[in-house]
């Protein structure tokens, strides 16, 4: 058939509409099965013993009393795992401590028992001799030459000699000449900004159910952002063949990056192997906060020069991120993304990756970018306001566009930043009046977006309906998007397609649900799989009609003779072709396997109005608008949902959320009461404006939208609070005591 991807703006029939999500009824009736909802016959309860110290040498673990307790079926320590391959060594260390406990909550041992009560009792019977070591939890403290050292020998060659071993890596990005640029400025602003560590705060704690036989075959049910990653990681740690471990993803109750690695899963499999019984493990909320993967806390110096007309002459930032107890904070992505919205002749960022006695940072929605944007967008705002300039106009004047050499190197193709700024400028929000103690802030944000390994299988059933199998958990409506793209491409109604999330035995490798990749990459593979099925259906129709297959076209769900010379045959619908498939060559399916490239970068501008109570320092968000480029919004309601959700998380980061460690290195707020994420009464409606600047790397123009939305809000809210309070806020969260202190110091 003659497939035609090119030319003329496509008129969509399904994409861009707002159908009900296919898993909707399951999720509003309680039928949907999440991680902790699965049971197995003979199932045991697994529990983990965690370090009560921030930093301690483990001198001895005695599990004999726990093992002797009636009802205990297995006890596991690090010794059970032996030596693991290098590429999973740090993950292993994080799942179960070896020589040292490196943070409060670090796993030390685990038990499987016939009931939660017996498991709890068994944990109390495990004896651990700790030699408590000095600890450090603050990034600037950890960099000092005399700071307690977590690891020897992990420092990269990129770090200048003489620095603490806690400083793991240094990287520098940018172009031009900072000093020459600063010399052209009418004002150079230098400030230091700080952000606290925050947690993704998914409402569903980590959970899994493992079965493992002596024959090396295992099954794992797990809430994760990537069950293929879970399979590969667990297989490496346990010494299994990947093909022998089947992992099924449960419904997932939020992830935001925090479920892109493993914590419980290898331990559950080891307990299952040792006990010969299925083992279910579910984290408590305090375990989630103490011992999963929050994001980095940061300390960032910014130096920006600006002319009195608002042109940025040079931008410099030095970023220090602590990523917990092992290397791998998201500092490089912060350093590469912070100035990405701007067209700058002179730009330089330096990133320092630092380890501290905190849980290892996991990815959190646009990892590393929100903190850098907070610092840089705050500085730009302060400069603009200092000159009496309109902060939106200043951003427009400096905005990156097609052809701009980005701060991280590549030259931009068509991008949507200016469109978001123009939309913001034209929006009634921008000119709405403000009252006393109220302020308005704007900020821009950027995220890279990714593609990656993706497999989709699309099957035509004998009655001509369609099933799509894909390998990325549906974290926010992606079944609906895949169903829509398959229906669009096949020219059939939405309700004729059903999308399922396949287990690891059913498809090839699929990269984790991260990097805003799913609608882009899985969508692309779905469209290609549909195209391959269409080609086969055209071939079948051509055979039936006795004409050349090149003389058959696919349109509106049916094969049709193409052009006047093909012959006069009535169209054959997908149902008609499917009904005779076994007579014309066998079942019909399409599939596509790809490492998707060309994700297309994404930009947003956010606008926030706040009121600050000068007596208490408390901030109320009055109004909030998100302007973001989606490339093409497949299901606009869920695109809006991503915009709103990212904004809300960013507002929490800006105002309330923070990991609070005591002098003893123990996390003091390991619960939702004291680690306070925004609740319904904290927020206004969050308005959204979807811009659509098509991504040339996707057949329908889709860009990822999930992550960019958390990049601008920290700065947008900080700029609004600073305007309302009349004093520049440089540290997050802007909790009431901190804002009050700043007002009192400023006044």
């Amino acid at each position: 058939m003659a497939l035609d991807d090119s030319k003329k703006p496509r008129v969509f029939k399904v994409v861009g509409t707002r159908p009900d999500r296919p898993d909707g009824i399951d999720k509003v009736t309680g039928r949907a099965r999440f991680g902790a909802d699965m049971v197995a016959p003979g199932m045991l309860t697994g529990r983990i013993l965690r370090s009560p110290h921030a930093h301690a040498r483990i001198k001895r673990i005695d599990t004999s009393k726990a093992e002797a307790l009636a009802g205990v079926k297995a006890v596991v320590t690090r010794a059970d795992f032996g030596t693991v391959p290098d590429h999973v060594a740090v993950i292993m260390e994080n799942c179960m401590a070896g020589e040292k406990a490196l943070y409060d909550g670090h796993a030390i041992a685990a038990v499987a028992a016939i009931s939660p009560a017996v498991a709890r009792q068994a944990l109390r019977l495990i004896e651990v001799d700790y030699e408590v070591l000095p600890h450090v939890t603050d990034v600037d403290e950890a960099m000092k030459p005399d700071a307690p050292v977590l690891h020897e020998g992990r420092q990269e060659e990129t770090v200048p000699p003489g620095m603490s071993q806690n400083v793991i890596a240094r990287a520098e990005f940018g172009h031009g000449d900072i000093e020459a640029g600063l010399a052209k400025a009418d004002r150079v602003l230098e400030r230091t900004y700080r952000t606290a560590a925050t947690h993704q705060g998914y409402i569903e704690p980590h959970a899994c159910l493992a079965t493992m036989g002596a024959d090396g075959q295992g099954d794992l049910w797990v809430c994760t952002q990537g069950h293929y990653m879970v399979r590969n990681t667990c297989a490496a740690i346990l010494g299994l063949e990947q093909g022998q471990l089947r992992v099924t993803a449960s419904e997932i109750g939020g992830g935001f990056g925090g479920k892109t690695t493993v914590f419980l899963e290898p331990v559950a499999l080891m307990l299952a192997r040792k006990s010969g019984r299925p083992v279910k493990m579910v984290m408590s909320r305090s375990e989630v906060l103490r011992a999963t993967g929050p994001t980095a806390s940061t300390s960032i110096d910014v130096k920006i020069g600006m002319t009195k007309e608002g042109r940025i002459t040079a931008g410099f930032a030095e970023l220090r991120y602590q990523g917990g107890a092992w290397p791998g904070s998201p500092v490089n992505m912060g350093a590469m993304s912070g100035f990405a919205p701007y067209d700058l002749e002179n730009v330089k960022t330096v990133g320092w990756d630092v380890v501290t006695n905190r849980p290892k940072a996991a990815a959190y929605r646009a990892p590393g970018a929100p903190m850098a944007a907070f610092a840089i967008e705050s500085a730009i705002d302060e400069l603009a306001r200092g000159f009496g300039l309109d902060p939106l106009a200043v951003r427009l004047m400096n905005a990156a566009d097609k052809g701009t050499k980005s701060s991280y190197g590549p030259t931009y193709p068509a991008i949507g930043l200016k469109a978001t700024l123009e939309a913001a400028k034209a929006h009634p929000h921008w000119t709405a009046p403000l009252g006393k103690h109220q302020g308005r802030g704007v900020a821009c944000g950027f995220w890279f977006n990714f593609g990656g390994d993706t497999c989709v299988s699309l099957n035509i059933t004998p009655d001509g309906t369609v099933t799509v199998s894909e390998g990325n958990p549906d974290i926010g409506g992606s079944r609906a998007s895949m169903t829509m793209m398959a229906a669009e491409e096949l020219g059939i109604p939405y309700d004729q397609v059903r999308t399922v999330i396949a287990d690891t035995g059913s498809l090839g490798q699929n990269e984790v649900t991260h990097g805003s990749r799913v609608t882009f990459a899985v969508g692309l593979a779905t469209i290609e799989a549909a195209r391959s099925a269409k080609r086969e259906m055209c071939r079948r129709a051509a055979k039936i009609w006795g004409i050349d297959e090149e003389a058959v076209d696919w349109e509106d769900g049916a094969a049709r003779p193409a052009g006047p010379n093909a012959g006069k045959f009535p169209p054959m619908t997908i149902k008609e072709i499917a009904a005779v498939a076994s007579k014309t060559g066998g079942p019909i399916a399409g599939h596509h396997e790809v490492t998707a490239q060309g994700a297309g970068v994404s930009f947003a501008t956010h606008m926030a109005d706040v009121e600050v109570d000068p007596e208490t320092g408390a901030t109320k968000i009055l109004r909030y608008t998100v302007f973001q480029d989606a490339g093409k919004a497949v299901h606009p309601s869920y695109v809006e949902g991503q915009f709103q959700g990212g904004a809300a998380q960013g507002i929490g980061w800006a105002l309330n959320e923070e990991y609070i460690y005591g002098e003893d290195g123990i996390l003091q707020n390991a619960g939702f009461l004291d680690y306070r994420i925004p609740v319904a009464s904290d927020l206004p409606m969050i308005d959204t404006v979807i811009l659509e600047i098509p991504n040339p790397g996707h057949p329908y123009g889709v860009r990822g939208v999930g992550e960019t939305s958390i990049v601008p809000p920290l700065a947008a809210v900080a700029n609004a609070v600073s305007a309302a309070a009349g004093v520049r806020m440089v540290q997050l969260p802007m909790s009431p005591p901190r804002v009050l202190a700043a007002i009192q110091a400023g006044g």
């Binding site: 935001f256 925090g258 990815a363 990892p367 190197g409 030259t411 193709p413 991260h514 990097g515 992550e707």
Partner: protein, 81 residues
């Protein structure tokens, strides 16, 4: 020859030049060539990098074609949430 733009601190490890030239027609040849001609880059290359070719970001797609006029930028390995 393909011109490859290095990030700032990487240039120090490649003898100070922000841009190096490598004989390559594919991404694999490019990465091999960089490691061969610039031993200082080997630790960073073995930790994994991303490569932007004409504005598209690739990780390990060996056979991605590169032409002499492609814009090639070495990036720190990217990760999402």
């Amino acid at each position: 020859m393909v011109k490859v733009l290095l990030w700032g601190s990487l240039a120090d490890l490649a003898g100070g030049a922000r841009e190096v030239a490598v004989e390559a027609t594919t991404l694999r040849e490019l990465l091999d060539g960089l490691a061969r001609d610039h031993p200082g880059l080997r630790p960073e290359l073995s930790r994994g990098v991303s490569v932007s070719i004409d504005g598209r970001i690739y990780n390990d797609s060996w056979f991605t074609p590169i032409t002499p006029d492609s814009e090639v930028v070495l990036l720190k390995r990217l990760q999402g949430g």
